[in-house]
Amino acid sequence: MASSQMSYAPTLGKLLKSLNTQPLEASIEALIYLLKRRQVKGDDVANATAHMLLQVVAKSKWQNVDQLLAKVSNTGHRLAQAAPTEQVIGNVVRRVMGLIRDEASEDRNADEMGDSVSDLSQLPTTPTISTRPGPTPLRAATLPMSKSMFNLLCVSETAQSPVTGASTPMSQGASANMHALRSEVIDGIEEIMDEISQADDQIAGFADIQIHPGDYVLAYLPSPTVERFLLKAAAKRRFTVFIASAERQKPGEVPHAALRKKLNGLGVNAISLASNGLMAYMPRVNKVVISAKAVYANGGISTESGCSTAARAAQEYSKPVIVLSGVYKFCPVDPSDDGTEFEQGDSSTYVDYADGEAVDALEVENIVGEYLPPQYVDVYLTNLGPQTRDHLATIMADHYKLEDMGLSLHLP
């Protein structure tokens, strides 16, 4: 049943809707296929990953924190394998694992105080907190009794075992704890999802600081983040936007028509550049705005192909390059560790299959994603405000647990 639903024009929207009705494994598989076909990409990936991990936490069977961590990282591993260039998957997995560790240690601290009564009193409320359907309500109904009794017995024992991260052995069968943990982790993931969905708006909030009246702003392949940023700035400022893209438009097709219309509506001049090289326009440009798919530990970013052309041209003329990126895209690995430097894409948009000569002969390489070295980036504009390269490590340390920093989802 579930598979027949998915087999028909699968989209992320449909998948997210069907999450509650179909088995966990089917959902994961469906998302993997969407990722493999690159039907989910860009900013949707983080959201989709968070949704999926929430399902993993809510639906899968686990008895202790270690099992949960293993399940989360295993699912993350599978998703990352499906889309090796999407570093964001790893980020969300790290965040969720960090969250689990936090909640687990908090729980135990609470236990240390011998506060089992409050623990008990919390329990009945948990089903209402987690509005997600699934096995949770059932468990909540059947287990509280045994859990609370067990808690009474094992208080002293947990107090003895300090929290040491992934390898921490949990007291066996602490299912009441586990249940509370489950709902807290679910809450936490929902917070991460909120953060992801609000990031664009928060970034756009800094638009009028960065963009000044009379500016010429070059937006290279504007992503939804960049579009929102520009529109927010347009509400306050009069400036000119150059929209550049490496894609070839079919005759009669107007590139970025919707964005141009909105900008024009706000009184901002938007010019689509039908050009691949951007050096010609750079003397006119005041700043370049691009969005990152991921920001690496060294400050380099993973982004759309062609951004390095734009950034290099900007550097030649000493124009600032502003990278828009939610903090959730900050990725605590080095670019050489994970993934590939270039991502290749469909070449049929450029070389027609009807063009037999070309199809037979040419080795067409259409690069769709690339790595932009840190020296080309001037400002990282995040939902926490503008950041410099030197400060990235601090932000990453704030958001990821040390234990998860080294997590690599790309090793076979």
Partner: protein, 463 residues
């Protein structure tokens, strides 16, 4: 005048509409306007009028590019719509619109009764859609042959049309066609009584041709150089030189010129550049340039084995043709359809060969848009960049430090909807060497030494 419009198919229907063209340049929103007229006839306060005019102006700008291409049916339908709706509101609101447009006011008024201005408007329109910040940049335009100066020679007319439509595109092709057309002009020239060729030919015959060609498309630097040589050649004639002798000498001069500066130059450059291609190396090039193509084919013919990376401009796709040609010659070709792949391709490239349109006095290249990005990426990747250029393309007077000083707008893409500059400016620091026909062997003339090179060319027998 009414039958003149056979030239441009797109413009053809418009003049028949007696200059409705202007009114109809708001083609897209005409239905909306007429619809709104009926409904909102009474409530058009001056402020509303102004807002409406503004909206129309915006729409007109957006649509201006399409104006040329309005299919006949649409134009006719429009004209009808315009006539029926003309009586009251629409006329009023539209003239308000054109008042704000300044320039088009004089064009519009007479257009109601006369057909002539419509032609002028067709010529004006494409430029009016150019975004303000690029309004200083030149653009080729199609001039209907009947609009040209009466002294323009038919051969030059044809060349002008071909240049305006980019059938003749690169600087050398244009130069050659121009010189051949000038030969025809010289052949058919007869000195009027009481005049001498050396005094009469240039101001009264040659200059109108040049003006016309410049109007069609700004002259390439090579054309400027050649014309200077040609004029100085004419000036050298003694006032008493017999006409036949002078003509003969001019024709011969042009033949030699084409032979030396174009035909032989190509052979020499490709020969020298072919030696730069490493055995088992990978040559990277951008777009399609005649000299680069010749060079690669020659290296192949010399028995070298190597591969070629072609980076293409997705808006031009000349590189694809080059890639296919090379492939047919048995060369392994990697093809990147856009500049996004340039860094990946540079990783395996051993050197970069670039064709250029011209070289400025400060050594920077004037080359198809995107060349600068490729050169910059290559020098960042420590790959040697070599530019190929005939000396006729060297400009000794002009200095360019950015791409907005001397450039051209693609007439097909000249509005905010889609805008394109045709050239860019590559700083000489990114160029490891320039190969010209005066270079012997594999010697390099670094771009900075170009002025020296030019001084070497400052040979009294030539200039």
């Amino acid at each position: 005048m009414a039958v003149e419009n056979t030239g441009a198919p797109a413009g053809a229907p418009a003049p028949q509409e007696k200059g409705k063209q202007q009114a109809k340049s708001t083609v897209a929103n005409t239905p909306a306007t007429t619809g709104g007229d009926a409904a909102g006839e009474q409530k058009l306060t001056p402020a509303q009028l102004k807002a409406k005019a503004k909206a129309e102006k915006a729409a007109r700008r957006a649509k201006a590019k399409e104006v040329k291409e309005v299919p006949p049916a649409a134009a006719v339908a429009d004209a009808k719509g315009g006539k029926s709706g003309k009586g009251g509101k629409q006329e009023g609101s539209q003239s308000a619109g054109s008042q704000q447009q300044g320039k088009s006011v004089p064009g519009r008024r007479p257009s109601v009764n006369g057909r002539r201005p419509s032609v002028a408007i067709i010529k004006e329109d494409p430029r009016s859609s150019i975004p303000e910040c690029f309004s200083h940049v030149a653009m080729a335009k199609r001039i209907q042959t009947s609009q040209a100066h009466k002294d323009v020679h038919p051969a030059v007319l044809a060349v002008g049309q071909q240049m305006a439509t980019f059938a003749l595109k690169d600087s050398i092709a244009r130069l050659e066609a121009t010189l051949l057309a000038f030969k025809k002009v010289i052949e058919s020239y007869e000195t009027p009584k009481g005049n001498s060729l050396s005094r009469h030919f240039v101001p009264h015959v040659l200059n109108p041709q040049i003006e016309y060609l410049t109007e069609c498309r700004p002259m390439s630097f090579s054309m400027g150089n050649a014309i200077r040589f040609l004029k100085s050649q004419v000036n050298k004639f003694d006032i008493d030189t017999p006409e036949d002798e002078a003509k003969e000498s001019l024709l011969e001069f042009i033949d030699i010129f084409i032979n030396e500066r174009i035909t032989l130059a190509e052979v020499v450059i490709s020969k020298n550049a072919a030696e730069l291609i490493d055995e088992d190396g990978v040559v990277l090039t951008y777009g399609r340039h005649r000299l680069v193509e010749k060079t690669i084919l020659r290296a192949k013919a010399n028995g070298k084995s190597f591969a070629v990376s072609v980076i293409d401009d997705p808006y031009d796709q000349g590189g694809k043709e080059l890639a296919k040609t090379l492939q047919q010659a048995g060369i392994r070709v990697f093809y990147s359809p856009n500049l996004g792949g340039v860094r990946a391709h540079l990783e395996r490239a051993s050197n970069v060969l670039l064709g250029t349109e011209a070289i400025f006095a400060n050594g920077s290249l004037h080359a198809p848009a995107g060349t600068a990005d490729v050169a910059m990426a290559a020098s960042a990747a420590n790959v040697k960049v070599v530019a190929l250029c005939e000396t006729i393309n060297f400009d000794r007077e002009r200095v360019s430090v950015d791409s907005l000083t001397y450039n051209e707008i693609d007439p097909e893409r000249c509005s905010a909807e889609s805008f394109r500059l045709m050239f860019d400016n590559t700083h000489s620091k990114y160029i490891a060497g320039v190969i010209t026909e005066f270079e012997s062997g594999t010697d390099f003339a670094p771009a900075q030494a170009i002025l020296t090179l030019l001084r070497k060319r400052e040979d009294p027998t030539i200039a």
